[in-house]
Amino acid sequence: MSNTPVASGSAKKRSRSDLPLAVLMIAPAFIGLAVFLLWPTIYGIGLSFTNFNLLTPPKFVGFNNYIRMIEDPMFWNAAWVTVYYVVVNIGVQTVLALGIAVLMHRLTQSMIVRSLILTPYLVSNVVAALVFFWILDNQLGIGNHILVSMGLERIPFLSQDATVIPTIALINVWRHVGYTALLIFAGLQTIPESAYEAAKVDGASEWQTFWRITVPLLRPILALVLIRTIIGSFQVFDTVAVTTAGGPVNSSRVLQLYIYNMAFGRFQFGYASALSVGLMVILVVITFLQYRLTRAGDTDLN
């Protein structure tokens, strides 16, 4: 990305500023930015210092919400559950997507394969959640019918704490893996064929080629894809809200669900805002760390 403005020769000739036109063209987007992004950010931070409940006037409560957050075991539980979800979701998804992308690149360039793999992405999380909610139903779902017919025990996928988060994570892998694979696939296509030919000449096996050529050259793309998917993954809500609503006990009560219930079920908008700040801090820290670790800005291609 380049932030240097493009010097326009003709503009120099005219030597007049484009300010009036620029203001006109930026106005709608700028209003959008200021009203629905920048101001809410400031306002949200402000709300987190109040006991606002939306029905009676807010009162300033200082750092009480933040002290409560640090002492709130449910918050830490939700944070932990969310991290667990992200690790399973992103881990499985990235590995699978990488595999699929490499196969789409080296095995078949078929458009049909690429289209099919993307199909789940076209339906919403809610649809994906409902379909698997039905498939994995403990008594009636086909998933357990198959297990039983294979002589195995039924697995209460969404109703026991050991399996609930991995199950939800995998449902979302189902929906997103094709999308991620296509992003990686696009990255693979930017790797010059000459790099592979050189490796072939050197007598490298495909396995070696994968680790010595594909992975290093893919790293910048992979890093960007990871940042995007991880940030999305942290905001998991739809699937949990539709299938388990946080249960059993609190084993799938992810942060965004906790925040939603706090605001809309328990009228604690102030505390919910503080929780949102907490989630934002987590996201910013992770983005920053990841950016540093993977040096997403660099590209080995140059």
Binding site: S8, S17, L47, L103, L107, S115, I117, I142, V225
Partner: protein, 305 residues
């Protein structure tokens, strides 16, 4: 990723054994099956009767074939008939939700892409003081996670009196997203300056250049952005869930949630629920079937730029 690696190995070398290739295709085949089977199961369940489903039928074909579920979803079955077939007897109007989703997604896509393009043009091709400062504000906006703006935006939309309206759902993303501005600016910068200068010499105005030169030359990235925005908007759940309260503004995703929540005391109306999910999915699947190539390429496109 051993399967992938092994396969790649075989393809690349002089294929001594087809085993690697067989394994790779098997892996790909399994992925395809897992991808597609849930869709089939949706159809199969929607065409089954609840009574048959509850008696534990695991037939691979529709159990006790009937289309009552679709009648329930479109609200053309009487309450009594619906209850008798394991529905809630609630009126639910999926035509309306379909229309609402279409309006919201179109409004968001058209508005976001157009206004973002305007801004991107001003950031890439116009010369004015303070440009970099304002642009960095937009880049800063890229860092704010959506979750953080939901609650304050809800208060805002409420104060604007737009709760439970389609405009209320659309507004926050209708004017821009930082990503859209950033994305389009990158492309506008690549349009050769000489073309624009030549047009200016021919008497064209800057605004004329935007419409006649920049937009047409960037039709591919604009199409990409439109497709991605449309998909995202169509599938959004969290924000519409907060804003919509009645059929006036209920979009498909929220309608589905309501349909599920109307679970009768006799247990979920699985057949109706799957019919509803199918209806929610079909428009996108049709769109996809018509332009799979464009969409698939679009997604790759958005990734590398």
């Amino acid at each position: 990723m051993t399967a992938a690696a092994v396969s790649a190995h075989t393809v690349g070398s002089a294929k001594p054994f087809p085993i690697g290739k067989v394994l790779a295709w098997t892996f790909m085949g399994i992925i395809m099956v897992i991808t597609i089977v849930p869709f089939y199961w949706m159809i199969r369940t929607a065409l089954s009767s609840n009574a048959a489903l509850y008696s534990g039928s695991s037939s691979l074909l529709p159990a006790n074939f009937n289309v009552g579920s679709f009648a329930r979803v479109f609200g053309i079955q009487t309450g009594e008939a619906a209850i008798a077939q394991g529905g809630s007897g609630q009126s639910i109007d999926f035509w309306r939700y379909l229309g609402n989703s279409l309006v919201v997604a179109s409004l968001v896509t058209a508005g976001q892409v157009f206004f973002s393009a305007c801004a991107a043009y001003a950031f890439s091709r116009l010369k004015w003081r303070g440009r970099d400062v304002v642009y960095s504000l937009f880049l800063g906006g890229l860092m704010v996670p959506a979750i953080f703006t939901f609650l304050p935006n809800f208060v805002l939309i409420k104060n604007l009196g737009l709760i439970d309206s389609l405009l209320g759902i659309s507004l926050p993303t209708m004017l821009m997203t930082p990503f859209a501005v950033f994305f389009l600016r990158q492309f506008f910068m690549n349009v050769p300056v000489e073309l624009e200068e030549a047009a200016l010499l021919d008497g064209s105005s800057k605004i004329g250049n935007f419409f006649r030169l920049i937009l047409p030359m960037s039709s591919a990235p604009i199409a990409t952005l439109s497709v991605l925005t449309f998909i995202a908007s169509w599938n959004d759940y969290f924000w519409p869930l907060m804003v919509s309260y009645s059929d006036n503004s209920r979009v498909l995703t929220v309608g589905l949630g309501v349909f599920k929540a109307q679970t009768p005391q006799t247990g979920p109306d699985w057949s109706g629920l799957m019919a509803a999910t199918l209806i929610a999915a079909i428009p996108m699947l049709v769109l996809f079937a018509l332009s799979a190539k464009r969409i698939v390429n679009s997604i790759g496109f958005s990734g590398i730029k």
